[in-house]
Amino acid sequence: MLDIKRIPIPALVGIVLTALFVLAAILAPWIAPHGNGEIVGDVWEPMSAQHWLGTDNLGRDLLSRMMYGARITLFIAVLATALSFSLGAILGFSAAVFGGWFDTLLSRLVDLLMSIPTLIMGLVVLSVLPSNLVTLILVMGILDSTRVYRLSRAVAVDINVMDYVEAAKLRGEGEGWIIFREILPNALSPLVSELGLRFIYAVLFLSTLSFLGLGVQPPDADWGGMVKENKDGIVFGIAAALIPAAAIASLAISVNLVADWVLNRTTSLKGGRG
């Protein structure tokens, strides 16, 4: 059904780049020229045949670190997105179908959480929580699930008032049939493209937290953390910090291109950012 020639070029570029990043992340331990923490040269060596991307602030191979960084970045972002998505979608659908106090309570809670910028709320809770991966994923996932909740609830509410759902209710169908057979198949396409956008947001949010020193803790580093490690070089004209930053940007653009394409094929529903 899906013909490669039919995929527009931007989407194709997005798919290829995303796949490259994912491959680098998965295969890092086997294809990275050096270890993650291994010091192999001088501080901030320029790009060379030996170190394709140069070395970092401690003299570690930047290319190897980028690959391991991809691993951490993608790992956390994927888990946080999975959490925010399952939490948000399940609660959103349930709120739409069951309605009543359950819906009111959840929706007001989400309104409350969304009345504070995600980053600010994230900083507030990270100021007291222990710094580890589990905390990070939980905080990112829960804060972002509010957006998924809003979207899936809105989509489900729209579908729930359609005559075909009413027809199913009049027939006497149970909630399971209504959610899984009537609503879900029709809600899938807006949700799938939202998945891409939420993933981008997770990558950006994680990078920002790490850049601020509140995300992944050294000696491990995701891309945002690597920007932080190398940012002092910028004033000396050393662009090492720009490499992980550019990687984040290009990953986000790639996924965006794919998500945009999926969205254009379906509907115009979109969640917000921030």
Binding site: D111, L112, L113, S115, I116, P117, T118, L119, I120, M121, L123, V124, V125, L126, S127, V128, L129, P130, I200, L204, S207, T208, F211, L212, G213, L214, G224, V227, K231, I234, V235, F236, G237, A239, A241, L242, A245, A246, I248, A249, A252, I253, N256, L257, D260, R273, G274
Partner: protein, 319 residues
């Protein structure tokens, strides 16, 4: 004539105040009730039980949470934001200058970004589906994918390091002349502008397009009005409320951008202050600054809603 408007606006403001109260509870709960002990966090894992108990006593951590909340809220309402644990300084005093700095930075970013976004949005609509429009949407897509620090460091790299036109670190001090101050914030303000510009433009474009596709615009075209007159007389009055809405939402988004941008440029504002004290786990500061950020964010959202209410002819001229 305007009684329903006054009522709606009053309702919206009351709702905003209620929301702010709820947010204060949330921020307080977020820092006090979640697992993790503030005293432990301050003193570190190696602290002795006695020193922990002493600090708890000193911070009033042994009182029930609700008592502590109202004590804190009472302080906030009377302008007493408490004392920073890490430095022992009065938080309100430290914040005053920084809040001013942050507002100064955000103000100049907004002054540039808002008109630019609206003009570019209009151009995108005028040449809809043409290459200008595609270029603008392409840039918008790109810039929503850029992390703030990417934009920030690229600016520093090119305009502060390679060409030394502007300082890469934005130092400001009291009594600094406006001209110098503006030069100091040139790069962070540009970074902030770029952060919100694309999104604001894309939303402006959508808002105007929505109006342009309405039946009354067709009516105006069928009266023989020129394209410009159609926009000025018929589209603009109806597009203004959605545009104000877009602007306000994006100014609210500036708040998030400001945190990162201030850190990049080591700018002495609220954002850097917040990040510093999150790292130091200085809870009273985090609470106070978090609340201020939330208050600004909520206020901007209220302004957006009020603009929509006031601009609605159905409400201005009730039946």
């Amino acid at each position: 004539m305007s009684s329903p408007i006054v009522k709606l606006v009053a309702q919206r403001i009351a709702l905003g105040i209620l929301l702010l109260l709820a947010v204060s509870v949330l921020i307080f709960a977020g820092t006090q009730i979640l697992p993790g002990d503030v005293a432990q966090a301050i003193l570190g894992q190696s602290a002795t039980p006695e020193s922990l108990a002493n600090l708890r006593e000193q911070l009033g951590l042994n009182d029930p949470a609700i008592v502590r909340y109202f004590r804190w809220l009472g302080g906030v309402l009377t302008g007493d934001l408490g004392t920073a644990m890490s430095s022992g300084q009065d938080i309100a005093t430290s914040i005053k200058g920084r809040l001013w700095n942050t507002l100064f930075l955000a103000f100049w970013a907004a002054i540039v970004a808002v008109p630019l976004a609206i003009i570019l949005g209009l151009i995108a609509v005028r040449y809809r589906n043409g290459w200008v429009d595609k270029l603008i949407s392409g840039l918008a897509l790109a810039s929503t994918s850029f992390p703030e620090f990417f934009i920030g460091y690229v600016l520093v790299f090119f305009f502060a390091v390679q060409h030394q036109w502007f300082p890469g670190i934005s130092t400001v001090y009291d009594g600094m002349p406006l001209g110098e101050r503006l030069q100091a914030i040139a790069l962070p303000a540009t970074a902030l502008t770029l952060v919100v510009l694309a999104h604001m433009m894309r939303m402006t474009r959508a808002a105007i397009l929505n109006v342009m596709q309405s039946a009354y615009v067709e009516t105006a075209e069928l009266k023989g009005l020129s394209a410009f007159a159609v926009i000025r007389k018929h589209a603009f009055p109806n597009a203004i409320a959605p545009i104000i809405n877009v602007v306000m939402l994006n100014l609210a988004y500036l708040i998030v951008g400001v945190v990162v941008v201030e850190v990049i440029f080591v700018y002495p504002g609220m954002g850097q202050y917040l990040v510093d004290h999150v790292t130091k786990r200085d809870v009273p500061v985090v609470q106070a600054v978090g609340l201020i950020f939330a208050a600004v964010y909520i206020s901007l959202n209220i302004v957006a809603d009020i603009a929509a209410i006031v601009a609605n002819p159905r409400l201005r001229h009730p039946k």
